[in-house]
Symmetry: C2
């Protein structure tokens, strides 16, 4: 893509309303535009990142055996009356009346609807385990939306819902999602730590928040430093092997980790002082076993091997891709701007022409643009007539992993400069070596 044709509205001023760094950087880099209270448009640069985040989420859900569906945003109130939540859910639920005066709502979550889908079709334990997920817009009418897409009213969510015959099956399903989440966040360059979360009236210990450490995080967290070295399972981890998956979960739930809310001073005191890590964190995912909370009131049953009917045991598993995009920035930026991990970068390479109009600079840039594109890299070619300093600032701000800088002096030596955005390292490379420099895409 050529910057001269790209809708990339870079803001020079730091927007006053933005309280946290990800919000500032997303506005400044032209990723998003605020449309109203807690409501944002995703502009081309932001949309590319969001798509990549969603794609990683999707691949890891699929790998773990979940199946993608797509439920509507607007729901009838009927199912919520059936589950008993219609009156309990607070003002965060956006309630709507249609032209026939039917009670509807903009889905803040989808347990009811997915349970309705399940009970309509699935009657036997032979069709289990089943895990259905979707990536869809949700709306929660927060009193005070803030922090940009980190806490907006309309936001994108991946919700997965698992259905199993019994607790043992549900626990295995929970563990698969646990491991899928480890892989999902690791692929985005995040160090996410699973922390036990409140299970409320459900009880048990099958509820975890995945927290990334970031100095700008919203809450205080406590964990054992051992987490930082724990290995994340590889892509060929066997999701059909309950023991193997359970082993990973066990490994990742043994060291101490807790949010402020669940913090246990006595257990914390037992962590060796040099292993204690108290930091700030951002929640990027939440997985939760809730058993028969919805299957009972909504009568979602299957026949078991015993010939009896059983209410299915369920769990839900959420990741917010819009929020996650901001969280990645919170975890990966510097004074110059965003530092995208390669896996979610909107483009791989910023190709910077320092002297547009110079025949040699233009020629080399066109060659490199074509060559890197042919090599499978996504290139954003700054072919505008801005001065070089502004181009460097923009490239740092939007945070593509690599910058390829083409100027007359380098060309005279047959070279261009390659800068690594994350480390700041620069190297001079022969022009012909550039297209092969960055390896194959992921």
């Amino acid at each position: 893509m050529r910057v001269s044709r790209y809708f990339l509205p870079i803001l020079k001023e730091t927007p006053r309303e933005a309280e946290i760094v990800s919000h500032r950087l997303m506005l400044r880099s032209g990723m998003i535009r605020q449309q109203g209270a807690g409501s944002f448009s995703w502009l081309p640069l932001g949309k590319r990142v969001l798509d990549k985040v969603c794609q990683i989420v999707r691949e890891e859900q699929d790998r773990a055996g979940a199946q993608e569906i797509l439920m509507p945003t607007i729901q009838s109130a009927d199912l919520w009356i059936e589950s008993g939540r219609y009156n309990d859910y607070g003002k965060e639920m956006l309630r709507i009346r249609d032209r026939q005066d039917r009670a509807m709502l903009y889905g803040p979550t989808n347990e009811e609807m997915v349970t309705d889908i399940f009970r309509a079709y699935v009657k036997s334990y032979k069709d289990l385990p089943l895990n259905l997920y979707h990536i869809q817009w949700k709306f929660r009418d927060e009193v005070r939306p803030r922090f940009g897409v980190m806490r907006s009213r309309e936001f994108l969510m991946k919700d997965a819902y698992s259905f199993d015959l019994d607790y043992e099956g549900a626990k295995a399903a929970y563990n698969r999602m646990f491991v899928a989440y480890l892989r999902t966040f690791a692929r985005m360059g995040l160090k996410a730590i699973p922390m036990r979360a409140d299970t409320g009236p459900i009880g048990g210990d099958l509820s975890h928040e995945f927290i990334i450490l970031a100095s700008t995080g919203e809450s205080e967290v406590f964990c054992n430093k051992d987490f930082l070295d724990l290995p994340v399972p590889p892509a060929d981890v066997d999701f059909t092997n309950d023991a193997e998956i359970g082993g990973v979960v066990s490994e990742w739930t043994t060291p101490y980790a807790a949010t402020d809310e669940m913090h246990d001073e006595a257990a914390w005191a037992e962590v060796p002082a040099e292993k204690q890590l108290a930091a700030r964190g951002i929640e990027v995912g939440h997985i939760f076993h809730f058993g028969t909370k919805y299957s009972k009131p909504m009568n979602a049953k299957v026949t078991g091997p015993d010939g009896q009917e059983h209410f299915v045991s369920m769990g839900s598993y959420g990741i917010g891709p819009t929020r996650l995009t901001a969280a990645i920035i919170e975890a990966s930026h510097d004074d110059g701007g965003i530092i995208w991990p390669e896996s979610v970068a909107p483009f791989d390479v910023a190709l910077i022409n320092m002297k547009v109009g110079d025949a040699e600079c233009d020629r080399v840039c066109e060659e490199l643009y074509a060559g890197m594109t042919a090599a499978g890299r996504e290139v954003l070619y700054d072919d505008t007539d801005q001065r070089a300093g502004a181009k460097f600032a923009t490239a740092d701000l939007i945070g593509l992993p690599w910058q390829v800088i083409v100027g007359p002096r380098g060309i005279a030596a047959g070279e261009v400069e390659v800068k690594n955005r994350a480390t700041g390292e620069r190297e001079n490379l022969p022009i012909s070596a550039v297209p092969g420099r960055f390896g194959a895409r992921r």
Copy 2:
């Protein structure tokens, strides 16, 4: 994907509420589930088709120079008050009050919001032409939603919006979308005919509906048979060449074509009788130039080369991927079920094991499943213990382009049977030849 693990709820009964064939087949094949009046969930098989439809739309929008953004579903009423449409828009608009009693609405269309985005950033003709599109859920509160996803209340729409300095620029932008639409529908196996549509108070001739011919179509259309042989531009058509693109549009707007609404008996009489084609059609896209209708009230101006400010000249370009999915079925089915064009088929191949449990059948199927997958084909492997007849019926119903049928008798001869779903042609192939049989994916 193995059918034994796939959420594919095939219905044996024909649902009574479904009036048209696409609705019946989408329900029967487990593509969708109705959630309420004019509201549908997309189940795994349907979601795969919808994704492929969206991807083709996206690729052709990008090729024509449009840029993808994503605007929220919920809009503030303010912009609509500014454009003057808030009170004019009828009861189809879903009006909402949030917890602060602010007037909001579920976007039935996005001219106002995209104009607001434009005016916030673009100030000079040098940043034109610009075409921004998004693929997002919309809601129109139809009195009587019907025909499944063909006329639902919540539906997915690709809307593109073009911004140009003047009419000439806007016309070139219009022509690019015209050609992009020709390519989009052709890639989905559809013969879409552009028909002049009413321009209302805007006037001029820059409004076309794209209509596919289908005996179950909702409206009567009239066209010259010459359309059926007109060539669709190839992928390397030069969208930067206004003359070339204009030439294609000219070619595709010269023969007579009109919907019932715009039908001109006098012009029709001049079409030679043997060229007259009166048929039924389904609208699958609509492109529309509306000049300064929104830029004037919303004050969206750019400075021109003359140093003066000009209200930008705009157009909008819609395709409904959810509706389009149904339209493809209307155009391509038989008594047995759906016949998917390869480009949008949920899988390429139905691999049918006629005798699950037979060691040789199982072994050959596993080999072929792995082999075809490795060759880049998407395979749905029916490994269930249903009888062969039911498997054949399901394969015909869900309409994958190819069926590979593995039975003991064929294996004894070293062969399997390959059936072409569209033509019904069958051939026996040596087992080893199967993975290479279907060529490279698209």
